[in-house]
Amino acid sequence: MSIPIKLEAFEGPLDLLLHLIDKNKINIYDIPIALITEQYLDYIRQMEAKNLDIMSEFLVMAATLVKIKSRMLLPAPENEEEEGADPRQELVERLLEYKMYKYAAEELKDKQQDAARVVFRAPSIPKEILDYKEEVPVEELLDGLTLAKLYEIYKSIVKKQIEKIDPIRSKFGKIEKEEVNISARFVEIQEYGLVHRKFSFRELFKDQHSRMNVIVSFLCILELIKIGRIKIEQENLFDDINIIYMADDIIQMEEAGF
């Protein structure tokens, strides 16, 4: 079956549920969960999943309905002592509360329409009277406040602050953002090459081995190969890759067109 009303017309999942209950002319206390769930899911299917936030709220309600439905299908434990553990109870409570405020909102709407028919006027106090500014009497402000009291307040804040510290997360190390400068690295590698002429790829990371640095260095090497300033060789599979620097000078990244 289809429901010929646009979904945006509903304030939320509870609103839709109320509409379905109303439409089926059923007692809120006796919701036929199976029927309502079906209609509800039908509705969600028609929904254009444009807004995930809104969609998820409706889905949570659908999941709740399905959960209640499945709980009602299960045989009740035989030795159940507390009677009336109706799985619908919580939902009914929520619906009733929501219905109450929806109803109050309608009442307020009428009130507002009536109240909108009166006109107020802006203040007309002469400027010179308004401009007069009174000094704030500090004594009065601190009236009744003692240092002991102020100290109590301070202590309670400090205590709250200590309690607020997450015992697990506070032990995590700091996450630092690292800055890798490609153009600087481009020049650095050449400088190293000019001095050492032949060196292994590994050597480049003697003291810097962050992932970002390796990636940037690797990119620089590729570029230097491409423009013919270095060549590489590897004698056996899995051996170190050796880099041979062939140029006699250093060029900047911009000159290399990198």
Partner: protein
């Protein structure tokens, strides 16, 4: 001081202030105690009710304000353009009614009742000066507490929060009846 003079002063005060004035402020300005002042204002209110007056005194949570009588609306519209009061959408009204009846209340509590995120509605209501922050709840995260403003009372023609429309007692009775019937049914099973 003659009673008439005191009345004149109060009229001048309410007229020039424009906004709602606390009883205590009026009392201090006319040099009378609050009880006397309240009586004088009530007496004035009766006079304003006379049919040759177009304005009257309204009461807002213990403060007083002058405004035109509702039946003057059509006349005033003829001479001036009355700025259209914002129309509150159903979303805003729903959120506002929850705040009005349950204040002070946190955003999370509002959302629990409505079943949907309510940031936008709350921000709009604050923008319209219908609700305001009332402080913070002493709970983890120290969430903000919201409540209604004087402007709310004015916009909805309420003297105080006690004047909020009672949630229809008949409806509530119906609900209860239904619930009882339901219970009976259960017992029969």
């Amino acid at each position: 001081m003659k009673l008439e003079h005191l009345e004149a002063r109060i009229e001048a005060i309410l007229f020039s202030m424009g906004e709602a004035v606390e009883l205590s402020a009026v009392a201090a300005a006319i040099g009378q105690d609050e009880d006397t002042t309240r009586k004088i204002i009530n007496n004035m209110a009766d006079k304003y009710d006379s049919e040759d007056r177009g304005i009257h005194i309204i009461q807002l949570d213990g403060a007083y304000q002058l405004c035109t009588k509702p039946e003057m609306y059509d006349t005033i519209v003829k001479i001036t353009h009355i700025p259209k009061k914002y129309v509150l959408t159903d979303t805003l009204l729903e959120t506002l009614s929850i705040i009005a009846y349950k204040q002070p209340i946190t955003k999370l509590q509002i959302e629990a009742i409505r079943g949907v995120k309510s940031d936008h509605a709350i921000n709009k209501l604050i923008e319209y000066n219908l609700i305001c922050e009332l402080g913070r709840l002493d709970a983890p995260g120290r969430p903000l507490l919201f409540g209604t403003t004087e402007e709310f009372l004015r916009c909805f023609g309420l003297k105080s929060l006690d004047a909020l429309p009672a949630i229809n007692p008949e409806k509530l009775a119906d609900f209860r009846l239904e619930a009882e019937e339901e219970l009976q049914l259960k017992l029969e099973i």
